[in-house]
């Protein structure tokens, strides 16, 4: 589902008339939903706080939300923009108070909407009407000024939902009668935004956007002979960033599975994951194996050896318990068995293939 957000009803008017199936939510009256079109519309109210809180509420009510598109008016901070220009947002910034030259540090990149258009930075202002010096200060950070995109982006970011913005210029950089102009032309701006939206945006396409799961992840998470714990599912995602699903990988993995086919799926997955671990991190895998064979194999109830857990230092630490002379001899013999120089060479990469 796609959610369109507007600060005011007047800005949304053309959309509310065009998408006839939009029905007001039974409880949250500023939210309209059309199941048929997989579209929703939110009247977020003006200002950063109002837009952030209303989008957060909408996100919790729309579990299948795939994208948020903010539409509405904005003031120009860039002198080359004319009233009526429609522009795509690039990054959302916000002022805390432009009078005291105080900005919100956080910024939010907005998702690119249309490659064929340039995109511009938007500053959400704390105050509604700006004087020339405030506009000048904000123009150092952005090309447009609005009242809500930063708040919306803040919320969308919390819910990990991509957000884009389409703005129509309602006042030029030197305009002083900002609010009046907007009110008079609001319906025209709304119609222009709708025309632009219908011409360039495909709601259907956004709703069927491809999933980000890799072929590797898909193949092994649905393999009938493997059972994955939640931790292993997370590991699989980590592995999928580096290991690609190739014919060779499939045949090698299937061979491992077949070798252990009599075992429980849970145990088979352990063998498969051991193989992935070797592919993902061959050096650490090698060091773990050497440590197992030459260090951990010497461990007994009397003494425990442990190499540096991140394999950065060749030092081996040990702890032990002594109850009698026999234990002392055992500990001494174990320490004598330890090949410290060989381990040091291993840590320095000498036996690495």
């Amino acid at each position: 589902m796609i959610l369109l957000t507007f600060a005011h009803r007047l800005e949304a008017k053309a959309f509310l008339s065009y998408f006839k199936d939009l029905k007001a939510h039974p409880v949250y009256k500023n939210l309209y939903i059309s199941e048929k079109d997989q579209l929703a519309l939110l009247l977020s109210g003006e200002g950063i706080l109002s837009s952030a809180t209303s989008l957060s509420s909408a996100c919790t009510l729309l579990p299948n939300l795939k994208k948020v598109i903010n539409l509405g008016v904005a003031g120009a901070l860039n002198p080359s923009f004319k009233v009526g220009d429609i522009l795509i947002g690039k990054i959302a910034y916000a002022s805390k108070s432009s009078e005291s030259k105080n900005m919100q540090f956080k910024s939010f990149p907005l998702e690119e909407l249309l490659n064929e258009f340039s995109s511009y930075d938007i500053v959400s202002a704390e105050e509604r009407v700006l004087n020339t010096s405030e506009k000048k200060y904000l123009s150092h950070f952005g090309d447009l000024v609005d009242r809500e995109i930063w708040g919306l982006a803040y919320s969308a970011n919390q819910f990990n939902i991509p957000i884009s913005s389409i703005k129509i210029i309602s006042d030029s950089k030197d305009d002083e009668e900002f609010c009046q102009t907007v009110k008079d032309s609001a319906l025209k701006f709304s119609n222009d935004l709708l025309s632009f939206f219908l011409e360039y945006i495909s709601v259907k396409e956004i709703n069927v956007k491809k999933s980000e799961i890799t072929d590797f992840e898909k193949y092994f998470s649905s393999h009938p002979n493997i059972f994955l714990t939640t931790a292993q599912k997370n590991l699989l995602r980590k592995f999928s960033k580096k290991i690609k699903l190739t014919d060779q990988l499939i045949s090698e993995t299937e061979e491992i599975i077949n070798r252990h086919i009599e075992k429980r799926p849970k145990d088979i997955s352990k063998h498969v994951f051991d193989f992935f671990e070797k592919l993902y991190s061959p050096t650490i895998y090698h060091l773990n194996q050497v440590a197992r064979e030459s260090i951990f194999s010497l461990n007994s109830p009397q003494i425990k050896f442990s190499p540096d857990p991140i394999f950065e230092s060749p030092e081996i630490s040990f702890s032990g318990k002594l109850k009698n002379e026999k234990h002392k001899d055992e500990i001494i013999s174990k320490i004598k068995c330890l090949k410290i120089d060989e381990w040091s060479e291993t840590i320095n990469g000498d036996h690495l293939v």
């Binding site: 540090f105 990149p109 650490i284 840590i347 320095n348």
Partner: protein, 344 residues
């Protein structure tokens, strides 16, 4: 230097912020003259650069299309002591801060997590920086100074005009050394300067594959090697940094080729020092790198949190790679004593 022009000869800045009290400064005027003709229209006068730079988080990749320039005065400490394991020998190392950020876009660059903006800041209060360098040099005989800790030392020098100022200063400071570290081939001015034993042009060099795929917007390897050769022929002292060394499935072959290419072009017996450094990230830079370059070939490597909390390859792999490179370099005539490991 026929055919070896800076790769970004015409830098297009979106906005040029100048601190109001520097507008009449001769260096400001010089910089504006050297920028493209319409640059004056892009000038925004501001009180202080830090009222804008660093006030908001400007995404690093904005440097591709929306890069601003700040002409400013550096306040606070102008010369800082460099971290341990910075150079060869036991001399003290310092860096001075003449600018922030870089026009290049190396995927592993620590600047992506260091500043909250990729915009370029050039500090033009040279007289103050100079005084501080002289003071530190007099207190620490034979110490080193590095320009370009937060920027490339030469990439924008044709605009900032810094190189001749650095050269003049270190001509008068024979008891201190200056390292100008770069990936640029912007050496036109350097070739007109009298070589000084204590001014070293040092080049970061990576494999041909790395220069192409990872050191985005930087000059190709063969151009860098030609630039080094020209400086050597002019009599300048040159250092090399094989840093960062990046693992790929064919890393040994690629680095063997690199060393072969270097030895074909450069007189390796005349290199003043050569450092080896395996790719490393602080945790915050690693986070930014993952975000900015999710498809980078660097991800093929095995990264782990290391002894100093930096993210690196495991020690076994690092040591193996560095040993291999040391062997290959010594085979080509590089003296062992001039090779050092950087940040290990």
């Amino acid at each position: 230097m026929n055919g070896l022009k800076p790769s970004m000869e015409t830098i297009l800045f979106n906005k040029i912020f100048i601190e109001s009290d520097l507008i009449d400064d001769s260096i400001t005027k010089q910089i504006l003259e050297r920028l493209p003709k319409d640059s004056e229209k892009k000038v925004h006068l501001i009180d202080r650069y830090d009222e804008i730079f660093g006030k908001v988080k400007k995404p690093y990749l904005e440097k591709r299309k929306n890069l601003n320039l700040f002409i400013a005065k550096k306040k606070g400490s102008l010369v800082k002591e460099a971290p341990a394991a910075y150079g060869l020998g036991r001399e003290k190392h310092f860096y001075f801060i003449n600018s922030y950020n870089c026009i290049y876009e190396c995927e592993y660059c620590y600047l992506q997590g260091f500043f909250s903006s990729p915009d370029i800041v050039t500090f033009i209060n040279w007289n103050e920086i100079k005084e501080e360098i002289i003071k530190v040099a007099n207190e620490n005989h034979n110490c080193w100074f590095h320009a370009g800790e937060f920027s490339d030392s030469l990439a924008l020098s044709h605009i900032t005009g810094e190189l001749s100022r650095f050269h003049q200063l270190f001509k008068d400071l024979p008891h201190a050394k200056l390292e100008l570290r770069t990936k640029s081939i912007n050496i036109k001015e350097a070739l007109t300067l009298t070589p000084l034993d204590n001014v070293i042009f040092s080049f970061s060099i990576s494999t041909e594959e790395s220069c192409k795929e990872i050191d985005l917007k930087t000059p190709p390897l063969k151009h860098r090697l030609k630039a080094i050769k020209s400086l050597q022929e002019r009599g300048h002292t040159v250092g090399l940094h094989l840093d960062p060394i990046i693992w790929t499935p064919d890393w040994s072959e690629e680095h063997q080729n690199l060393i072969h290419q270097i030895s074909q072009e450069i007189d390796l017996t005349q290199i003043s020092y050569l450092s080896l450094g395996v790719v490393r990230f602080t945790e915050s830079v690693y986070h930014q790198f993952q975000k900015n370059y999710p498809e980078s070939t660097i991800h093929q490597g095995e990264f782990k949190r290391s002894f100093d909390n930096k993210v690196r390859y495991p020690r076994a792999l690092r040591q193996k790679m560095m040993l291999f490179l040391r062997d290959e370099l010594t085979k080509k005539g590089v003296q062992k004593k001039i090779i050092y490991d950087c940040m290990e």
